[in-house]
């Protein structure tokens, strides 16, 4: 009964992988467009508080980030356990904030300077004393627009 004989050399034919690069490139372009480069490595613990009345920041390039929090585990022996300020890639004092804001202004084109915004990313365990110092420095530097970074809480 040769009619019911199975095909010879059974098994499925190999799936063509010719379009695999195209698929991967598509993924690649998607990620290139939707993400931004990581600019700093965090040296501080940074658990943001939660709030419901949040606004999104449209243009991240206009943001200068000030991180506040206790140094991460590996840094504790060197920098202590008290919350500190991180600007760019190093621990700084609040007196350095003015210089930091000025540097950001310097690198921004003139018509965008009024739109600059300072993002304070502070840990939940940070005390307001340190934040107040930063705010005072920002007032002195005339950088009045600030944003307290928070996670969005849905009510």
């Amino acid at each position: 009964m040769s009619r019911f004989k199975k095909k010879k050399g059974g098994g499925t034919p190999a799936i063509s992988t010719a379009s695999l690069p195209d698929i991967v490139f598509m993924l690649l372009f998607f990620f290139m467009v939707t993400t931004v480069m990581r600019e700093t490595t965090l040296l501080v613990e940074n658990t943001l508080p939660q709030a419901s009345e949040v606004k999104k920041i449209e243009d991240k390039s206009l943001c200068s980030y000030i991180y506040v929090g206790a140094p991460v585990a590996g840094m504790k022996s060197k920098f202590g356990t008290q919350p500190r300020i991180q600007l760019n890639d190093a621990f700084r004092l609040s007196s350095d904030v003015q210089e930091f804001v000025a540097a950001k202004r310097e690198s921004t084109s003139e018509e965008k300077i009024p739109q600059l915004i300072t993002c304070i990313k502070a840990d939940v365990d940070a005390k307001m004393g340190l934040i107040s110092d930063i705010k005072q420095e920002l007032r002195k530097a005339k950088a009045f627009k600030i944003n307290y970074a928070t996670f969005e809480r849905v009510e």
Partner: protein, 180 residues
């Protein structure tokens, strides 16, 4: 010279190269959206300038104090954070009825003062509740007038509602009572 057709370039490793690039971008970039509470700091007072707040009637100021133990004192009474939103709304939305609360929302000012020992988490919660109170009142007014929420309004309509309930949160210089 004999003409031969060019041998086809093997594109089999193209996928590997693309994967490599993809993984590189996955590792070095972030996708998180930045959200937060937007505030405007006041300008530094000029030296000769004397702030005259005697013009503002006491009833139009809603005093919110936060101490180093994260306790709230609102209008000289201890209050839980969960009641702050309703309290602020009652203060703003008084229209001269209760003599201890505001004349009208345009004159009303929320005065917030915190200690240097106040935790950041508490401070953000308080700011959030105050914003929420304003947002809820604006939403209500926008619903009544235009039938949509405040956030969906545009241009002049938005300005009108904002003028009705201007968000006036004044922050005093922090005190250092509870040294930590």
């Amino acid at each position: 010279m004999s003409r031969r057709s060019l041998p086809e370039i093997n594109a089999g490793s193209m996928a590997d190269i693309a994967f490599l690039l993809l993984i590189f971008f996955l590792v070095t970039t972030t996708m998180d959206v930045d959200t937060g509470l937007v505030r405007k700091l006041p300008a530094m007072p000029e030296e000769e300038e004397i702030i005259d707040d005697s013009q503002i009637k006491a009833r139009n100021i809603y005093v919110v104090l936060v101490n180093a133990k994260d306790q709230l004192l609102v209008e000289e009474e201890l209050m839980d954070i969960s009641q702050l939103r309703e309290g602020t709304k009652a203060f703003l939305d008084n229209w001269g009825k209760d003599p201890n609360l505001s004349d009208n929302p345009q004159k009303a000012i929320v005065s917030l003062q915190n200690d240097r020992g106040t935790s950041y988490e508490m401070y953000i919660s308080v700011q959030n509740e105050l914003s929420a109170a304003y947002r809820e009142l604006r939403d209500r007014e926008a619903q009544k007038k235009f039938g949509v929420k405040y956030a969906e309004l545009k241009g002049d309509n938005k300005k009108e509602i904002r003028k009705m309930f201007p968000e006036k949160i004044s922050e005093a210089e922090p005190k250092n009572v509870g040294e930590n």
